[in-house]
Symmetry: C2
Subunit: 206 residues, 2 copies
């Protein structure tokens, strides 16, 4: 990849821009501006122009951005102009919801497999998936060459599962357990913890 010195906070905004552009495309729109995108997203137009300018010239002064062109450019930058197979670890409430969610395909991801360690869940059907035994995690993931995982396991197991995912070749982990994970350099982790998000907002409340 060419642009490895871009701050991660800029990278973090690109999926938000892409999501909004995809919605505009669904609405039948063809052209937008940094002003309009900014109003939709609550981000300044100047910030959006600055972020995008780090990757090239994607719009013309006065005519704005072609939505399809800009969407494709952002997909290229984010590496989601291809498909990533995804493994889900944990077939509980959240893991099951992720397995059933049909919004991943159009955004670069295909759920491929789901694991659990509970004998009463192994072999169970969730959507089109049969829950696999976590004992076979390494063979299944390494065998299929899966590099992306979503983990929805209890906090007490999370680091152990993460270690096994890394050993199986996983390079990106979306972690729903409310605990930090230590992973080697070269492996990315993102965390989803609703209480963390709520606390970030209560700071501003009286």
């Amino acid at each position: 990849m060419a642009h490895k010195n871009i701050p991660d906070i800029v990278i973090g905004r690109l999926p938000i821009y892409l999501r909004s552009l995809q919605r505009m495309a669904q609405e039948g729109r063809q052209v937008t501006s940094s002003q309009e995108l900014g109003e939709r997203l609550g981000i300044s137009a100047a910030q959006i122009r600055k972020d995008l300018s780090q990757f090239g010239e994607f719009g013309k002064q006065g005519t704005g951005y072609n939505i399809e062109f800009l969407s494709n450019k952002i997909r290229d930058i984010l590496n989601v102009n291809r498909n990533w197979d995804v493994a889900i670890i944990g077939a509980g409430d959240i893991g099951g919801a992720l397995a059933r969610y049909n919004g991943f395909n159009q955004r670069g991801f295909t759920i491929k497999m789901i694991f659990d360690n509970n004998p009463s869940k192994i072999g169970m059907k969730i959507d089109n998936f049969t829950v696999l035994d976590i004992a076979n995690l390494k063979e299944e993931i390494a065998g299929a060459g899966v590099q992306v995982a979503m983990m929805a396991v209890p906090a007490a197991y999370a680091q152990d599962v993460a270690d096994r995912l890394v050993a199986a070749g996983i390079k990106a982990i979306l972690n729903y357990a409310p605990v930090n994970l230590n992973v080697p350099a070269g492996v990315r982790v993102q965390h989803i913890d609703p209480a963390v998000h709520l606390q970030r907002m209560t700071y501003y409340l009286d």
Copy 2:
């Protein structure tokens, strides 16, 4: 509140620090250091000291941080030394999982009510909650004085539901719908969208 000029990105790290401190306390620990916290979190010790120093002097040079004291200070800053009642909108997979999740209470939040618009779900029991009719959203939320909501509704309904939440007095919305929300000044929104988090990681993969 006293510290309203702190960058939101600093505020966003405080819940992560708090979560890690609470885990150390559960492990029976009493003292930590910015170095140790930094190693657990993959954040530099200097960053942690700088973030915390924006709110006061919480540690002593050479002796580190008292975990209980620092946890309480961060709870004070984040306004979670009190309880916030929370309404959940949407009794599907995610809403149901949030209603059943028992990790909120120790972090400042109590789920109070859950709504849906589907007649087959209204009146249904989820954990100890009876699913309420979204038609009564405003009376129920305003009547109970709830200020915090988690929304797990289809994208097509999300803005309408957000508008109704704001009209009912909600000041903080955690939005699980994969769409941006426009809310008036004074209302906070945070978004959870797994595809956004995954795309932020695939940028770094080959």
